[in-house]
Amino acid sequence: MKKYLLIPGFTTISLKYRYTLIAFLLPFFIQAQSLTDGIFMPKNNFCGGVMVAQDQFKDYWEGTTKRQNLNMGTMTMKSVGIMANYGISDKLNIIASLPYVYTQASAGTMSGMSGIQDLTVGLKYKVLKVKDLSANIIVGGSIPTTDYIAAFPLAIGNQSKTLFGRTMLHYLNANGLTVTAQGTYTMRSNIKIDATNYYTDKNIFSNEVAMPNVANISLRAGYYSHRIEAEAYIEHNATLGGFDIRRNDMMFPSNKMIATRVGITAFYRIKPLHDLQVVANYAYTLNGRNVGQTTSVALGLMMAFDFNKTSKTDIKY
């Protein structure tokens, strides 16, 4: 199987940023696919790349009521992220990602925002492998790298530091059929905003905001070969706590946020270009609460290097 595993899947490299705040509405789907898939880089192999992504929505859920806001129009978040994955050993990978984010509203007078957002770092460990089935755990966290504004409809992020733990069951058989199921718990730190009071479901005289933690489950299934990978997935995210947006109120970082998304991912490795990997992802929000009905597209290029060898041209699968 190892030959399929050299370059980790990269589907929702969307990172945290894709969902983080296109207008606050999706601040928690997280991380590079390599943190959510079951594929490991072999020891001393490194994979790095760049991903561009766009997330957009016009409809959003204000509490459970679906609506549009004519003073915002279509909200767009564009991002460019770098991502890296290194095999400390065949069973232990370290993965990091960092995006630059740009936001914009198509209507109204509100200014978009842009800047470098949060650094995510994770460790992925293969606990056991029995035939085609492996069990993995992933722990990691994220930290804002710049002092961007958090409480603003077009903010690029929410400034919360996070810590996440994930358990994953990954199945991949000799024919390349694969199924992955995982569950994640993300702790989020309180944040500071540039204000003296704010209203959630009550008034609070403080600049500190308590951020609810987040749970996530997902199921993905598809086909892996050396040249091509293709997967479909469904995921469900929910903050554990938080409050509903009141009628005609603004979104707020500590809102209750729930979303169910479906998506597809495809990779292709271009042989004449030293197996340069092209990644594409598409996802759509089916249902949610205090989030946008987001359509996400992403495209990326990834390249792998094997430092066990004398040069990258010697890479063997």
């Binding site: 722990v139 966290g141 309180n190 008034n203 005289f205 403080s206």
Partner: protein, 525 residues
Amino acid sequence: MNNFNIKIKHSLSFLSNVSILVLSLMIFSLISCNKDIIEKSTEWTELAPTKLDENAGNWKPCVLVNADDIKIPEALSTTTPQYQQELQEVKTAQANLTNSQKAAIKYWSAGVTLRWNEIMRALVAKHNLAPQNNTDGTYPIPNQANPFAYPEFPFSNPPYAARAYAYVCVAQYDALVAAYKLKQQYKRPAPYKIDATITPSVLKSDLPTYPSEDAALSSASVELLKFLFPTEVEFLTVKAQEASFYKMWAGAAVRSDIVAGDSLGRAVAAKVLAKVKTDGMKNAIGTQTLWDSLAANRNAIGEEPWKSMESPSRPPMLPFYGGVRVWLIPNVAAVRPAPPVSTKSAEIQKQITEVKSYTTNPTRENLAIVHFWADGTGTQTPPGHWNAIACDDIKKAQMSEVRTARNLALLNMSLMDAAISCWDTKSYYYYPRPSQLDKSIKTLTGLPNFPSYTSGHSTFSGAAATVLGYIFPSNKNHYDDLAKEASNSRLFGGIHYRMDCEVGLQVGTNIGNFAIQRAKTDGAE
């Protein structure tokens, strides 16, 4: 090549080790963190007034003609069986305190006037939410007679909030002046001075306790707040009960003190309510014909009138609030500033260019200023922000209840006059916002739905800094700096021209000076 790769490999493993370390630190810091938010005022200690102000009954009230306008029954003599029974009730209460009563003692003993101010600001924040449009593109208006129906009454925007703060603070002050007057008339001491077996759980005071100042100011507050925030009656009733009785639970007042204070507070409130109900607020919203006339006035002289940048177009916020009755200034015309530069002038183009320079690639420092002073939806509003600043400094100075109420009344009368004057100016000149004259200006905070000239934040801040600078002379420069920053925040945010901010600040200062004139003659100095 080999060496190069080995180097990279070494740096990568080094990076991995660093990352693992960083991760462990993050784990530690997150696990050890506590999510509870501590509001600063929960840590306020018990009020220990530096001055008793026992003669405040001679201070000049705001609405009452004389401090002794209100009559209450004569105080029971401490030797009567009925009073002795009340002492027994105090002892029983002290011996059987519930946890919520203990919490109430701790909460209210920090200062009853300050606590009501905080409660009122929280109510403003809760109700500070603009109604959503109807499907036909019109906007519903909150209805005081049917306050629970959408949109809930009130929408406590800055002018509404300024009025609420002013009337409640005035009622509190007048109730306290009347209460202090009667205290000196009856001179009935605290129960622990009559019965040595009573040990109060609050600080002892030489102030006579009949009638209770806590009950007087709480009942006055609640009667006003019920009118201003009619959906909150249940919540307010519970708070007023606690505020009125906490000193009895603490061994520092008897029931008849509280009953007398309550009836005094209600009587004062009735007089203030008669005033608030006839202050002209009901005409502040206007009608389509009146709104159209504001634009027509400007078109007639060749000026571009303000228009709503919201979609669907929203009527301006309370455009005839300028007609509401003022407190301190003679009338709005007396403080109305000179006209702004023409919407077609080269000068306004220069000012537009300046606005745009602030919204293009804003500095983080400017963004922080914009957001710190934004005080928009879901907040206590700019007048509330200045009340919060005042309350912090009053708390530090440990002012008596009556002096606290007097200073907050002065502050809030000037803030309401600032609102009235500024809203008069806004409708009088009906000047477009920067984003209307230059569509490419994108704002860093919400664009308020009313005319630009002059800035409300600047007018409020000029008035507040002037009044507070008079009350706390050693902080004067600090308040002026805050006011300047609040004023600039609107320019930095791209929602006001420099002229709106500078003129607003001047007019506000002017209004603040009227409050100082009153302060010099109200007998409190």
